[in-house]
């Protein structure tokens, strides 16, 4: 089932995008990774607007990895809009961020985040964390799909 899972990675930092992608691919589980560089692009992808107009909306990502500090719309706002729309309401969203601030944690869960992971600076730890997360959300966890799949 996880063979062709799509992951939407929302992060504006190219270094982080690279490292996260490396970490996601570390154990050779190949996923489709869609990267959005800001909140607006993430929503465009999810709702088939802008650059993603005409995208098949039945193909929604199986997991969204959402940074908080983003240009244009921040992670919390993206989360709000996702949870307000039938099509994206049940997509698992993992906040993947550097922030250890209480207020970010509270705002994320309040808006319907499924998980909150602080990116460790130590890359080895980071890889371990991403692997565990991927295993859980894409393998262990049964998600509810909006299209009734």
């Amino acid at each position: 089932m996880a063979q062709h899972s799509t992951i939407l990675l929302v992060d504006d930092n190219p270094d982080d995008v690279e490292l996260t992608t490396l970490a996601l691919r570390e154990y050779n589980v190949v996923n489709d990774i869609v990267v959005a560089r800001d909140g607006q692009e993430a929503l465009d992808y999810l709702f088939g607007r802008g650059a993603y107009a005409g995208r098949d909306l039945y193909e929604q990502p199986h997991l969204v990895l959402l940074d908080i500090n983003l240009p244009k719309l921040n992670g919390t706002e993206v989360l709000q809009q996702m949870r307000a729309d039938e099509r994206t309401r049940y997509i698992p969203v993992v906040m993947l961020t550097t922030s250890t601030e209480e207020r970010d944690l509270v705002a994320s869960y309040r808006n319907g985040a499924n998980s909150y992971i602080v990116k460790p600076v130590d890359f080895s730890q980071f890889i371990a964390a991403v692997h565990q997360m991927k295993m859980y959300w894409l393998v262990l966890n049964r998600a509810l799909h909006s299209d009734g799949e």
Partner: protein, 818 residues
Amino acid sequence: MNILRSVPLRPAVLGTVLLVFGLLAVSLSGFEERQWNSYFERSTLAAIRNNMAHLQDSVGAALAAGDGKRAEREIAGHGFNGDLNVLAAVNAAGQVIYATRPSWRAAVASHVLPDYDLTAAHSALARHRPLIQISADHELIMAYYPLTLSSHGRHPHVPVNGLLYALIDMSRGERAVHQAVLKQSVLLWGATALAMLLLFLLLRRFVIRPVELMADAAGGIVRGQAAPFVIRGSGKIATLGHAFNEAAITARQLLAELREGEQRYRTIVEHVGMGIMLIDDQMRVLEINGTMRSWFPNADHVEHCYELFGKGDGQRCGVCSATRALSTGQAAETVVETVIGGERRILRIALKPVTDQQGSVGACVEIMEDITEKELIRHQLEKVTRALRALSVCGSAVLRARTGQELLQQVCDVIVAVGGYSMCWIGRAGDDAESSVVPTATAGGAKSYLAGIKTSWGENELGRGPTGTAIREGRPVVYQDLASANDNFRPWREAALQHGFRASAALPLYLEGKPYGALTIYAADTGAFVAEELTLLIELAETTMHGVQSLYDQQARRVSERELIRINAELERRVEARTAELAHINKELEAFTYSVSHDLRAPLRAIDGFSQILVQKHADALDAQATDYLHRVRRATQRMDRLIDDLLGLSRINRYRPHAESVDISAMAGELCRELQDAEPQRRVGLAIAPGLSAQTDAHLARIVLANLLGNAWKYSAKRADARIELDACRGDRGDGFVIRDNGVGFDMKYADKLFAPFQRLHGPSEFEGTGIGLATVQRAIERLHGHVRAEAAPDQGAAFFFCFNCEHADGDGREGG
């Protein structure tokens, strides 16, 4: 009562008895006489008439027949009631033709017949009707009956007329019997009278006399001198006597008590300090007491009460309520002014009506009290009270007034309106050539008076008045009677009297110890200023000037206050600007901290991540030295990550809002030590945590403090085999606290001042790992908890950290000791 006492009882009774009996006897004899007369009329005369009528016929017939013998028989045949002394027939010529005494026959009747009345005979003959005469003593009855003599004679057709004369003696017979009866009756009455007399004597002896004695004794008792009378014998009268004696003794005692009481009462009435007078319903004086006599020397000689007050000729006091008291029967009261001993006195008269047993008001008691002194005191008290009230109102005016001038005006107004004086003005001592007094405040229509006068406080004629003198000499000047004031007041006298001023008081006013002017008050009554009142007015003047002084000071102060307010406002504005600036900086700092936590880590992670990728996936392209450098890069980034963590922790403490609760310090320390042990299971450290330690503080910050200090102790004792960490309570100058001791490497106390500064380390990273933020964090957390922390240590001697919560305000140098 008086009549009975003045006439002796015995003669009265005796006289009455005799009088009754005399009257009885007289009326009895009169009755007997009348009885007899009546009987005589009814019986004797009727019998005589009857006999005579019969004889008239029979004797007349016999004589007419010339039969003398038959006439004699006829006469003899008729008995008369009484002695028939004479019976004779007389012819018209007055010649006896027949008589019971033969010697009288043929004689002239009027000559021989006893008691024969010729006139009566003629009358009976002429009228041809019987006639009966009765002697005055009712003892002789003379009857004249006409006779028709027979016509057998010389003149056969003419009846020979004559008279039948009878003389009857009634002195014996029935009348005698009646008189005997009468005599017996009189005798009977006489005997009864004697019996009555005897009875009376007995009565006198046994009843009247004792009653008289009792009466005398009673009289004596009434006069207060007689003793009870002596009683002889027994019986009802004696019982009465005993009863009387007892009653008399009681009565005498009562009388004595009554007299004594009356005497006492009279003494009180006489000497009580009130005039007492009893008047009747016509206001006639019945009684007066000694006080009245002392007040009114003529009191004993006036007839009516109102005359005492100089009202004669029935002119009553206009104010007296005696009339009302007498007419309504209600107590009344009135106040009368009069002159006693040449002095005007005020009397309060209480009128109490006196009712008699029938309930009607027949008299009235007037009780007079001399209330002159009371009235005087009351009047003075009123004045003092008014002055006191004025003083009190002026006191509040001092607090209210905004300027000195306003206060002076208010004081004048109050003195007139509240103090009840006619006029008041405050004059300021002018510094012109004439030293004139300039009115600055006036009240009570003083303006017209002041407009007409001039006052000075200099040594001249216009300066010798009350106001000028008061200012110049600095003492109160009082004129109790302006009309008779000395010549010093002459320049103003006329105007003052015209305005109705009768007394004045001028009080000096001082400002800052120098004469300011005077407060002059005028009153409408002479002698208006009593001593206590003056004292209060002087106090009022002083209070006023204190107020004026204070207001002048305030005016000066107000200017500097305004400047102060301006400076304060400026300062406040600046503080607000600075606060806003600070708030802005705080916000920026917060944003900065956030950036640090978020944005500084991202590059670190990239450095670390790519370094590891290089080491792991491109190892074959790197030599040993390059690999070593990459490892150094990774260590540096990880160290920086810890540094960021610690800095964030420090900044979070600043934003954290602590709340106090009971914190179990011993338990918390134990838990932290277990975490430390878990992290380094190979270490052997001796822990001595005193049980039961607690503090009223914030648990989160307390945990940060304990975690850092225990962490340090754990870290710096790592090189000792017998590492030991203690937590205990300690008592210091600032209050109860705690101490954490270790036997680690310690430090040199000369660096103690750097200990709590951020990034300051006393050991190199090669000796001990650390960021230099830990103790700064402890310091900050302790500050947030209003506590204090300090350290004692020596190189290789271990270190001790003393800390307490909620003790920053205590005095002392913060040295705690175990």
